[in-house]
């Protein structure tokens, strides 16, 4: 699989940002160029505040539509920034939407004596707007603090999808009836077009799982340790062409596992026919993965992600730093790239010796390839054989292990628990590694 080059990715991001800003600019220009009747009697600061409020409202509407468009996982954007960053943008954009939505009534009502607005049926669009604002805040708070509030992922996801369509539909009704500025001409067309876009995007989000992905069957399920399972999947047709380090979304069709989509990194090499996944059993779903049987059907959607040396067109040495099960993309890289004879240093942090899986395969690879160095770092072992290390990966250890690697402009791939990725990235930066040379992937939805 060929991943787009940096220039191609920048071009795609540039196009997306330009189109987004153009649509956003148009939406904010409309209230100014086509003023509603409520603006006719406003002058000076009052008019400016009202106009800014209306602009904030329109920007909110457009960004809500952008949120839904992001969730269709547009292929060109996914290949440009990676699915994990697309989700990160979706989250950040959600907060921007909330801020603009709060700002909208504050600015619109700033020139008014707000306490004097009576309760009348004719103000139903304003009441709807208030309900939407409170609902949006709840919606955003639950999405942001889902883990804190201990809301099960599958319940939240269903509610999030349903809530999104309700809020978006409500927002379009509010815009259409709260002012007379969008009932004719260009403003009407604008609202209709982005409304249709939102509806199509939402339908795509809901219906795409029906045709997305390729059918596979379980070839084997092997326990690699007390909490690790390796699942091999055989394609039922065309194989998933992936680059090392990419991930796929699995949706099993089995009686032992709910058919929920779950993302997992592909651990197999990019040339082999079967797909292999190494899964840590740490949740209610993953704990049951070992119950899959040979012949069970699994739908594989992917590949996704840019956490791959193939996404970076530089023939530099590789330093792969993994924590625990974060080693799966590294395994795929090692299995795929070693024939090229590239200099690779794999540093793998685990708690104990027992946590190291596939140690025989790693040792074989290291024997067969003079350019590969494997260093195990064990945080809960007091003594380890050289060149392996006891303790946690920190700056002095990295300095000791990397030696000349950092001066050779190596590419650093870091994957593991978020706290570990943060600290390793910080330590690498303090050792003088440029930010652009450190690649990480936020792996959690």
């Amino acid at each position: 699989m060929t991943l787009p080059t940096s220039a191609g990715r920048m071009q795609a991001v540039g196009i997306a940002v330009t189109v987004g800003l153009a649509v956003l600019g148009l939406s904010m220009w409309l209230p100014w160029y086509f003023p509603s009747s409520s603006m006719v009697y406003k002058f000076g600061v009052d008019r400016t505040l009202l106009l800014l409020g209306k602009m904030a409202g329109m920007a909110t509407l457009v960004l809500v539509v952008v949120q839904i468009v992001f969730m269709t996982r547009p292929r060109f954007l996914e290949r440009a920034v990676g699915l994990d960053r697309l989700v990160a943008v979706h989250r950040t954009n959600g907060l921007v939407v909330l801020c603009l939505a709060v700002l909208h009534p504050l600015l619109v009502f700033a020139p008014e004596d707000i306490a004097a607005i009576p309760v009348k049926v004719e103000y139903w669009p304003e009441m709807l707007g208030a309900v939407l604002l409170v609902s949006l805040a709840m919606f955003a708070a639950v999405a942001r603090f889902r883990a804190y509030a201990r809301i099960p992922y599958h319940l939240w996801k269903a509610a999030h999808a349903f809530g999104a369509v309700c809020l978006t539909a409500g927002a379009f009704i509010h815009v259409s009836f709260v002012t007379d500025g969008y009932r004719r001409g260009l403003p009407l067309w604008f609202v209709v077009v982005i409304g249709v876009l939102a509806a199509v995007a939402w339908l795509w989000v809901v219906l795409a799982p029906l045709w997305r992905g390729r059918n596979h069957v379980v070839e084997s399920v092997d326990r690699l340790g007390p909490s690790m399972v390796q699942v091999a999947l055989r394609p039922q047709g065309e194989r998933v062409d992936h680059a090392p380090g990419q991930f796929a979304i699995l949706r099993p069709r089995s009686t032992v596992l709910p058919a929920e989509p779950h993302p997992f990194t592909i651990a197999s090499g990019s040339e082999v026919q079967n797909l292999e996944f190494i899964i840590r059993c740490c949740g209610d779903w993953t704990s049951r993965v070992a119950s899959l049987s040979t012949g069970d059907s699994v739908r594989v959607d992917g590949p996704y992600g840019l956490f791959s040396p193939e996404a970076h067109a530089v023939d530099a040495p590789l330093v792969l730093i993994a924590g625990g099960v974060g080693a799966t993309p590294m395994l795929s890289m090692l299995r795929s790239m070693l024939p090229e004879g590239r200099k690779v240093h794999f540093i793998w942090a685990n708690r104990t010796r027992q946590d190291i899986v596939l140690s025989d395969e790693l040792a074989t690879l290291e024997r067969q390839h003079a350019d590969l160095r494997v260093t195990h770092v064990l945080s809960r072992e007091r003594t380890v054989e050289s060149p392996h290390q006891a303790g946690r990966i920190d700056k002095p250890m990295l300095q000791r292990l990397l030696g000349g690697d950092s001066s050779e402009n190596a590419l650093y791939f870091v994957c593991g628990p978020q706290s570990m990725m943060r600290s390793v990235t910080r330590d690498l930066r303090s050792l003088g590694v440029p930010k652009g040379r450190i690649k990480t992937e936020v792996f959690g939805f």
């Binding site: 709060v102 740490c282 779903w285």
Partner: protein, 114 residues
């Protein structure tokens, strides 16, 4: 803590209905309406699996009420009623936070890892 939260909600609701009757203007809905919302979230503080979700809902309602009070203060003046409301809001938020803090930590329901 749930009882304190509920009592603060009831007191706020009573004050808001008297001071800002919901039938008098749309703006008043930000007070009594959200008090009612926070009151409905109070039972969640009694059940450990829902304590944090209850606190979250109560906090969002409180956040809007603080914004509404600030907006009112900006447009008129700081009356003793508004000071009382801010005090009760603070008690309500503190009680919710206290209830959520007492909630024992549990393993996350689901994580995906590979």
């Amino acid at each position: 803590m749930a009882a304190v939260h509920g009592a603060a909600c009831l007191a706020l609701l009573a004050i808001d209905v008297v001071s800002f009757p919901p039938w008098a203007g749309l703006y008043s809905w930000w007070f009594a309406g959200l008090d009612l919302f926070a009151l409905l979230a109070t039972p969640m503080l009694l059940f450990p699996p829902f304590v944090r979700a209850g606190f979250l809902l109560s906090t969002v309602a409180g956040g809007f009420q603080i914004l509404a009070v600030a907006y009112l203060v900006g447009h008129s003046h700081l009356s003793s009623i508004l000071v009382l409301m801010i005090g009760l809001l603070a008690i309500r938020l503190f009680a919710g936070w206290g209830a959520a803090r007492q909630c024992p930590p549990v393993e996350p329901v689901r994580r995906c890892a590979s």
